[in-house]
Amino acid sequence: MSKPKPKVAFFEFTDCEGCQLQVANLGASLLELAKVVDIVNFREIMSEAGEEYDVLVVEGSVASKHDEERLKKIASKAKVIVAMGACATIGGVNNLKNLKPLAEQKKAVYGSVDPVPDAIETKSIDEVVHVDYYVHGCPIYGPEFLKVMECVLLGKPYNVPQYPVCVECKQNENVCAYEKGQFCLGPVTKAGCNSWLPNYGSVCVGCRGLIDNPAADAQKDILQKYGLTVEGILDKFTLYCNGKKERAKYGKESQK
């Protein structure tokens, strides 16, 4: 096997680096991966200038003009682009910034000084460049990241599950949160994490984003039936499912 190994570069934008940590935590599987690819940029290790790579893995969302320009430049050098983690795929928690006008948010955070004059509304990276592969989640689910990398290396598409987390949750035979009087976003959230949180008795918080055709109205009905206030419901949906793409999915529902 003398074929050169594909070069994979990791770059990060506005985020917490938790997803890269998940990759670093893959242990033995990461070593396996390192056998078939060359990791040429893992943030601190190398400078981005002059590096060449085939696969670009982007973590974090775009939150400033500088981010936007930098992403475009980095992306132009890559053959394949992978969005890794909720910030990159759907905007993630950074979307909370978009709930109010930028000026207002800045004032609340920084007061009278403005250390980030070029800040813009949060964008998922596919609002700036074309994305070939999505690894959803906050943080990403390690085994899914590996699955996606296999697909990247084989040149075949990775299909993000279009069914909700409940599918995995039931197959894992968890007692449903609703039985315990808890409120779970599993029914409207894309699967692929093997129902990570419900497996540990917690509820799904929707970090992987809404399924493409969420029964958001029916879900709100249910939450209300279980005694949650409208405000509480919106909060639940807002943490991760506030990006432009996510919002559009609700619109679809209400028109029907």
Partner: protein, 345 residues
């Protein structure tokens, strides 16, 4: 010996005697619910239980089942599972046994499914008769699965101090013969069993507002009933109703290649008609785009299509779909609304 008697006190040691026949799975408590799990000691089991979250189906049609192994270069394929293991399902309710009978019909249809048949061959079923309703969600009397009608090796009926044993196969016979503490049933025992059965029947009544003949008719003319629109609006599309059903047998086939990019596995995973893209085809059309059409499909698959195809209802009345539905969509209510022919609420 076709009927036998075992003292309640001896159940533990009988259970121990089964251990060398294979792994034993039985009902166990999990938080507020029950699940089938591997059982080491008789006392671990909760024999008084309502239907488990997942039916015992997971042991003969697993959620994720490896079908074959392959190599890309040089290309080769091989069996994923060389040897299937003997196992015993202990304490299976009659509704779930009816579920197994449904799967038998499906997977025996040509081309027969070798994985299913291999597992089935290694399976021993020890049933447990319900002497009263598990809970208010059951509809087993309507479809007649509250009484035993074959499909098991041994059936246990709780008679208080003792259990009646019905032996229904050679496999079952081997599990009880030669045990000093298990005796043949005498006339007095038989009378006791019959009496208990009569008492039981008094508790079970058709849960639907009409007999199955009327239900057949209702499904015949109910395709455009407003009932389905109503379900479609309330259903959140979680798929749980199909995930927990003992007679749902749809699966998807997936190939996964390992990181060396040469060795891979092909496996199948459960797949449900309640999934959004289940009936979507490659050209983009979706034959059941709405949740109303998908819910209707689920009901027709249980009460009409299977009757046309296999002459069998594919609802065992276990009530799992109703129990699991967070939108509180109830099978009994839906059928009754369909029967009433009236506008749904």
């Amino acid at each position: 010996m076709k009927y036998a008697i075992i003292n309640r006190m001896d159940m533990g040691r009988w259970f121990d005697s089964l251990k060398d026949r294979g792994k034993i799975y039985g009902p166990k408590k999990k938080e507020s619910a029950y699940v089938f799990r591997p059982i080491q000691e008789f006392e671990e089991m909760s024999l008084k239980y309502i239907p488990t979250i997942l039916p015992p189906k997971k042991y003969y049609f697993p959620q994720k089942e490896f079908l074959l192994k392959f190599k890309i270069n040089p290309f080769s394929t091989g069996k994923a599972i060389r040897e299937f293991e003997e196992f015993i399902l202990f304490g299976v309710h009659t509704c779930d046994i009816a579920g197994i009978q449904c799967m038998d019909v499906v997977f025996n249809e040509k081309p027969a499914d070798p994985n299913y048949l291999n597992r089935k061959e290694k399976m021993t079923i020890i049933g447990l008769e319900c002497m009263d309703y598990c809970d208010k969600y059951a509809s087993c009397a309507a479809v007649g699965t509250h009484v035993y009608k074959g499909g098991y090796d041994i059936m246990l009926t709780d008679l208080g101090d003792e259990y009646a044993i019905h032996i229904n196969s050679e496999k079952g016979d081997k599990l009880v013969t030669g045990k000093k503490y298990i005796r043949e049933m005498n006339a007095k025992d038989k009378e006791k069993l019959n009496k208990a059965f009569e008492e039981k029947l008094k508790k079970f009544n058709n849960e639907f507002d009409g007999d199955m003949e009327r239900i057949d008719k209702a499904f015949e003319k109910g395709f455009f009933s407003p009932v389905w629109k109503d379900l479609g609006a309330r259903c959140v599309g979680c798929t749980n109703c199909t995930a927990v059903c003992p007679t749902c047998y749809c699966f998807d086939v997936v190939d996964e290649v390992s990181l060396n990019l040469n060795d891979g596995d092909r496996y199948r995973v459960w797949n449900y008609c309640q999934m959004d893209d289940f009936a979507k085809v490659s050209t983009g059309e979706d034959f059941r785009a709405g949740r109303d059409a998908r819910q209707r499909h689920r009901y027709y698959r249980k009460f009409k299509y299977s009757v046309q195809k296999y002459n069998k209802y594919f609802c065992t009345g276990c009530g799992r779909c109703t129990r699991t539905c967070m939108a509180k969509i109830s099978l009994v209510e839906t059928i009754n609304q369909l029967l009433s022919g009236k506008e749904a609420k």
